[in-house]
Symmetry: C2
Subunit: 376 residues, 2 copies
């Protein structure tokens, strides 16, 4: 018992000295992974008979084994935010059983959260006394895809109390390898909106989240995302929820691959959407690069999306918001895209999340900024 106490004291002391804290993604009271103040992540996994074990967080970190069969590795400093990772052994990549899983990287994946300063996290942290909305998991039949699918629907606080009020709708897409759960479990979209609305900084709105992976019935190689949203999702949502069912009250946004989908919907269906947000993703004109194609060729630019940019004056009057954003650590290409749009007369708002990378802290901040500009 005394041995245990000493051990515990030693662990607590070393924890205080190194200022390592368990990741908020850890299951229960699991102490590992731990994050240091310098952003280094320490992983610890028991696998006494494994000949080798590696943790991959951006790159491979071979782990070392102690005499009890516990493997440890500490990463390079990570930028603050949410990072998927996996364990690797024998050519197989798999989950860390010590942490929560999130649907990402095409499967249920482990993740570690490198915390930002507590003050920074306040906007996505639940607060007592803030009226809460609700997130619904709803099954819907997609005629386009010929299958039952699931959507998440956030309704704001008060939605269920005042049955006469109608709300604008934001369609919000996840990134590649993720699904409709991402904006809730990785992104905390519901908490962000609850807090913003309580502070009077955002309009109460409904948020609809669907999977961006959609194939037409019988053709698993083809894409039917746009058609599914237009023919199945929007009519379902407008019939089932108290929406303001017109383009002035309908927004679309997404992250990474979902940003591309949001631009496709928002720019491609000008009678359906008038507010557009792209987080860490580009408007594809000509080819999948900002430069040199498309943007620098006035004809290609004017022809994009059936001519939506052809008359900047019309665009600026017709659309309420074109919002372009990413994380500072992702580089400057989206700032460049925003500037190119501005040069061509297309009004847009650019936001860059300080320090963060291509991950969910960036996208939480993007939503926080974007939502404050919506439906006003």
């Amino acid at each position: 018992m005394r041995r245990l106490t000493i051990l515990l004291c030693a662990v607590l002391w070393s924890g205080a000295a190194l200022a390592q804290t368990p990741s908020p993604t850890n299951l229960g009271r699991n102490p590992y992974p731990q994050v240091g103040k310098d952003g280094r992540v320490t992983f610890r996994v028991s696998a006494p008979d494994a000949p080798a074990l590696t943790v991959n967080l951006g790159k491979d970190y071979p782990m070392t084994k102690d005499d009890k069969g516990v493997w440890t590795a500490t990463t390079d400093p990570q930028v603050e935010g949410f990072h998927y990772y996996s364990l690797k052994a024998g050519g197989l990549s798999f989950n860390d059983p010590n942490v929560h899983s999130f649907f990402g990287t095409g499967r249920w994946a482990s993740a570690v959260e490198v915390p930002e300063a507590p003050a920074g996290a306040a906007f996505y942290t639940p607060r007592r006394g803030v009226p809460q909305g609700a997130v619904r998991s709803v099954r819907y039949w997609s005629g386009v895809c010929g299958q039952w699918r699931r959507m998440y629907v956030y309704t704001p606080a008060g939605y269920e109390q005042d049955a006469s009020r109608r709300y604008p709708v934001l369609y919000l897409q996840h990134g590649g390898g993720e699904d409709e759960s991402g904006w809730i479990y990785q992104g905390f979209a519901d908490v962000i909106l609850d807090n913003l609305v309580a502070e009077g900084k955002a309009e109460p709105m409904i948020i609809v989240m669907v999977s961006g992976v959609a194939h037409p019935a019988g053709d698993p190689a083809a894409d039917a995302f746009d058609r599914m949203v237009v023919e199945d999702v929007i009519p379902f949502v407008d019939a089932r929820y108290r929406t303001l069912a017109d383009r002035d009250h309908r927004a679309v946004a997404g992250l990474s691959w979902g940003a591309k989908q949001a631009y496709d919907l928002g720019l491609g269906y000008r009678d359906l959407f008038s507010w557009i947000g792209g987080f860490s993703g580009i408007i594809v004109i000509g080819e999948f690069r900002v430069r040199p194609a498309g943007y620098e060729d006035p004809e290609k630019f004017a022809a994009a999306y059936d001519g939506v940019f052809a008359d900047p004056k019309w665009f600026n009057e017709h659309y309420h918001l074109l919002f372009v954003a990413n994380g500072e650590a992702e580089g400057s290409h989206l700032k460049g895209m925003s500037e190119l749009l501005t040069q061509r007369g297309i009004d847009n708002v650019f936001y860059q999340s300080p320090r963060t990378a291509h991950e969910w802290l960036t996208w939480r901040r993007c939503l926080y900024q974007f939502a404050q500009r919506l439906f006003k």
Copy 2:
């Protein structure tokens, strides 16, 4: 290319011959695990450099590697239903990256579904044209636990259309190692109720699902589940949803460990609940066995739960339903418990799910039976 075609034909032919079908839990179009008509499950995992790989489904099955580094194992025949499993290598137990994960066995776990005959599955399969309820994920503050927690709340079809109608409430608990998501993602409680209500077989009701793991603030070794439900959960639900907030319209049920919790709540708080269901779990009297303690000692029996069984006539008038159920493959101890209760004059209903084990197909069927008897 021809090689590939031949290979595909061979695979398809052998698939048809063996009548193996992918598990419904597989991610996307992953072909493995596959389930044979005889209930044998075949696992296939690529891990070219692993020295050994084992799949555990009830017991260990060592896998064998082909010359491409793909490991395969086929299990003994499994009873129909939902089975957690894990891969094992080097002393570590982890997820199969080819399938969906579910929160069970204390972590995010892999699972395979051995299908029953399609007609049997109809009661938990979504149907077009059936009005759907909704499942909300709701954060609530627990003063007892001193933490934010999450509950799932199912509201029946029509809840949002008629703002004047109030509904009875079923509090429904998961099993050990699971959490509040179990009854939706493993149990399909929402689909079961939607279908039952549409057929006129069950009353529309609200279902509340919370995690059964609850510690009082500052004391992680102690249990505070009952207090949390009584002091935090029920008042929150009655304030936030249109409930019929009295014992005649409040039920509690659970599975396995959650059955024990449901009995503790239902029998321990006689002024709060009048409908009780226990699936694959026992009413603990004296010690954690049906026999020989408690049940065969009239004094202990009469003293249990502050004397709730002391006067059978009072019990039978006061409680609307005591429902005891399990799966046939689990054995006869709960049938015995039901008979002992009957012998002591305590009215109860017993149900046994044909063929099934201590797993979710049993509990889906239990809910299907139990819900039809509620609030009538």
